[in-house]
């Protein structure tokens, strides 16, 4: 099949609209077989705006509110043209508001000029949710970074969206609490971004993803009104708009304040590193631990290649001769934790475990985690670039899908490294490559498609925690019917009938056929 490179793809505005009708057919689930023999979904198109709209008056209006915090310099535009994904968009104006009122005014000015907007945090998202397409005004929340109030009586904290995840937890830890979602990017990712993506992390196995940890959100809606979704009471009245907003990737408005729930720090923690001579035994141990009725705080797996590169990078004492390691963390009251350690030990011993290393103190625990959390950076030791995937499969299918991942990587002449949240079946295959190599991106994307297809065929889903964004938008039809997606879009439309907020994300354009979105993309935006 024809592979679309992630290069500048020229597409006319009318073509965009035309694709609305046809893409429903494209999303019939008969996957095509490509040259490598792997079933693949329809080809994926990426749009890059090669000509942007005139914006002089718009910029003047924004500057009247923001002064020099409304920018169109090359530095900002380069920075905000992309995010943590490999997709490239183009920014033309970047705003750095400091409070809700400024965000509200930016949204009003955008509406006045008939321009979409895109709110973003640190831009660590891996699915292209913050990549500007459709020439939106960028609303960067970096300067909205205050922890407004820590309310221990209610066990919540009100924070601005630009507060970094780890900064919040550092602030809370001395008071006996933390914010449970802990993405690997937690040193740099923002709470607003966590809300937009309903982010996860290793400890979400036991504690749940972001949605379970957000009580209320102050939002500037796409029509410029300001409201609070959810509240601090146990059962806010009406429909759960808060739950709908979390994970909507900025397509329903801009979060300007977030009330996050505080989780008490566990009185006891034990961290174990188990090594296995065969990755299959490691995966079987994962299933058996859960089946034994134990839900560890975290249950992470790394394959042989991951162990090698991580060990060379951080010297955590990972066993480089092992085929796989499991990093298991148990937390809670001491009795439950010790019981958990025994369960893990006895299950692992039934599955040919090699060594079981129990961290003796906090320092050793942090060292073991350092290996896991730096795994992605360590990939640079073998290749300069990588593409990190994110799918979920039933735990029982981990071995089968891992096998396929290796075969797919081989077939496309790529290196696959696996570091993932095994406890909830959340695979994160890393495809390492060198972007200077000619034609390599086509292979990376084709392999990615094949991995997604293999995961879905095993009863899995498109994404565990990275979101749909732009990257997986056109794969939604592999899991959902046109009618399912149209229903999702009707709900989005209740917030943003004209598609002003982060346009072209989450749902394939086909699902928006009936709405008036296209009319609001200014002339010249698509060339």
């Amino acid at each position: 099949m024809q592979v679309q490179a992630l290069a500048k793809k020229v597409m006319s505005k009318s073509q965009v609209r035309c694709s609305l009708g046809s893409s429903k057919d494209n999303h019939s689930r008969s996957g095509l077989d490509d040259a490598k023999g792997f079933a693949t979904p329809p080809s994926y198109d990426t749009f890059v705006i090669v000509q942007i709209s005139p914006h002089v008056n718009l910029l003047d209006d924004l500057r009247s509110v923001l002064g020099d915090r409304a920018r169109d310099g090359d530095f900002e535009l380069g920075l905000y043209g992309k995010d943590g994904s490999v997709l490239q968009g183009q920014a033309s104006i970047v705003c750095l508001p400091v409070d809700t009122e400024e965000v509200r005014q930016i949204v009003e000015i955008c509406r006045h000029h008939d321009r979409p907007f895109l709110a973003r945090g640190s831009g660590t998202g891996l699915a292209g949710g913050a990549v500007p397409v459709g020439d939106p005004v960028i609303i960067a929340t970096a300067k909205m970074n205050q922890i407004i109030e820590v309310d221990l009586d209610n066990r919540i904290a009100w924070v601005e969206p630009g507060v970094l995840n780890l900064d919040l937890t550092k602030e809370l830890t001395p008071r006996g609490f933390h914010f449970a979602p802990d993405p690997s990017s937690q040193q740099v990712c923002s709470i607003g971004g966590n809300v937009a993506n309903n982010s996860g992390g290793p400890h979400c196995l036991a504690y749940g993803v972001t949605s379970a940890h957000v009580a209320a959100i102050e939002v500037v809606l796409p029509d410029g009104s300001v409201t609070v979704l959810g509240d601090l009471s146990a059962e806010p009245p009406g429909y759960d708009l808060r739950g709908l907003f979390v994970g909507s990737e900025g397509t329903m408005g801009v979060a300007t304040k977030v009330a996050v729930r505080l989780t008490p720090n566990p009185p006891a923690v034990r961290t174990l590193l188990l090594d296995f001579p065969d990755v299959r035994d490691g995966a079987a141990t994962v299933s058996a631990i859960i089946a034994a009725g134990l839900i560890p705080a975290a249950l992470e797996m790394m394959d042989k290649r991951a162990i090698e590169i991580v060990e060379a990078f951080v010297n955590a004492g990972y066993p480089t001769e092992a085929d796989a390691v499991l990093l298991v963390e148990l937390d809670g009251l001491p009795g439950g934790v010790e019981h958990g350690v025994e369960v893990v030990r006895s299950v692992a011993e039934r599955h040919q475990v090699g060594n079981i290393r129990v961290a003796a103190d906090n320092e050793e625990r942090e060292l073991l985690w350092k290996g896991r959390k730096n795994a992605f950076g360590a990939v640079a030791r073998i290749k300069p670039d990588y593409y990190l995937h994110d799918t979920v499969v039933p735990r029982g299918k981990l071995v089968e899908v891992l096998d396929k991942v290796y075969k797919i990587a081989d077939a496309y002449d790529l290196i696959a490294v696996n570091v993932f949240h095994a406890g909830d079946g959340n695979l994160h295959p890393i495809l390492a490559y060198d972007s200077d190599e000619k034609g390599v991106l086509e292979r990376v994307h084709a392999a990615g498609r094949a991995i997604i297809t293999a995961s879905i065929e095993a009863g899995g889903v498109l994404s565990g925690e990275h979101g749909i964004g732009l990257e997986k938008r056109d794969y939604m039809g592999m899991l959902f019917s046109a009618h399912d997606m149209a229903t999702q879009d009707m709900v989005r439309e209740a917030f943003d009938p004209q598609g002003f907020a982060n346009p072209l994300k989450v749902l394939p354009s086909g699902s928006r056929c009936s709405d008036s979105f296209g009319q609001h993309v200014p002339d010249g935006a698509w060339v």
Partner: protein, 304 residues
């Protein structure tokens, strides 16, 4: 296998039963029938399919018809040492409990029931099947319609099939009671399952391995009891957890969930206010998903 392949025959039958034109109301176990007001008498009663369609203990997920009674679900899960902590009567249905969206008295530890929902299939106002969420224990699958459906009283669609995350049953469950300050109890314990208070007496539920439950119980000067007190059911109001401190022991019969913010009482309680902006968003969602108002007419999620 993907979600699209797996729609059971029973869901198709339910879709035909809901049909396309006349007003319908979905009947579960009628255990919380009056929440949101009685449905119009003109609405035709329909019943969601019942039955456990798959339970994979190793995945800790269960998929069932929305009309499945909780008793049947609990029995199936208990055989494998698992549970879904809904804490509602055994004749209540899974779909009914989710449609009403009220969590049970162990919410303090287990969280809101909506966080246990992985995938929902519902029948929309045109009799069509809509799938949202995903079957795995963790998933990002576009817009989170599952959370929207929980607490929607069937106004946005008729729940047909539910996939839930199960939890391991605790080794030990113990209820304790006595006269003490419930807020101090809350501050002293690590993740208790429930703390109830009627203004004078406190009830605490501790769960986990025996040694932890013993140790936590030893921190409190309380006496062991069989279970929770009778919970008054005529009124239910919701406040910020810290606002419970303002409650006083008076003649009224009430029980508050400390740390959560629910007050159960024997007097009907007034509805909480919804802001104009939120109300209009909610009305827009209703208008888009059920323009003719044929689903559970008469019931109100957005109070007038």
């Amino acid at each position: 296998m993907s979600s699209l392949d797996a729609v059971p025959e029973e869901v198709h039958k339910f879709s035909a039963e809901v049909g396309t034109s006349d007003p319908v109301t979905v009947v579960g176990g009628r255990t919380q029938w009056n929440v949101g007001g009685a449905p119009d008498g003109s609405a035709r009663e329909v019943v969601a399919p019942s039955g456990i369609w798959s339970h994979e203990p190793e995945e800790m997920t269960v998929r069932c018809g929305a009309g499945t009674p909780l008793g049947e679900l609990s029995e199936q899960l208990a055989q494998h040492g698992q549970m879904v902590p809904f804490d509602m009567p055994s004749n209540a249905t899974v779909g009914g409990v989710l449609s009403v969206g009220r969590s049970g008295i162990r919410r303090l530890r287990y969280g809101h029931i909506r966080d246990l929902v992985l995938q929902i299939r519902h029948i929309d106002c045109n009799g069509e099947i809509v799938t949202s969420g995903g079957p795995t224990v963790k998933n990002v699958s576009g817009y989170d319609l599952c959370r929207l459906m929980v607490g929607s009283l069937g106004k946005l669609g008729c729940l047909a099939e539910i996939t839930l995350r199960c939890l391991p049953m605790p080794e030990t469950t113990r209820w304790l009671t006595g006269v003490t300050d419930p807020f101090e109890v809350y501050a002293r314990l690590y993740r208790p399952s429930s703390i109830l208070w009627n203004g004078k007496q406190v009830w605490v539920c501790l769960e986990g391995v025996s040694s932890d439950v013993e140790a936590e119980a030893a921190l409190l000067d309380l006496t062991e009891v069989e279970g929770p007190p009778p919970i008054p059911s005529d009124g239910r109001s919701s406040v910020e957890p810290k606002a419970l401190k303002n409650l006083s022991a008076d003649d009224a019969n009430w029980i508050a969930e400390i740390g959560v913010g629910i007050i159960h009482s024997d007097k009907p309680s007034g509805a909480q206010q919804i802001s104009k902006t939120n109300e209009s968003l909610m009305r827009e969602i209703e208008r888009r998903l059920d323009p003719r108002g044929r689903l559970n007419p008469g019931r109100q999620v957005v109070s007038l």
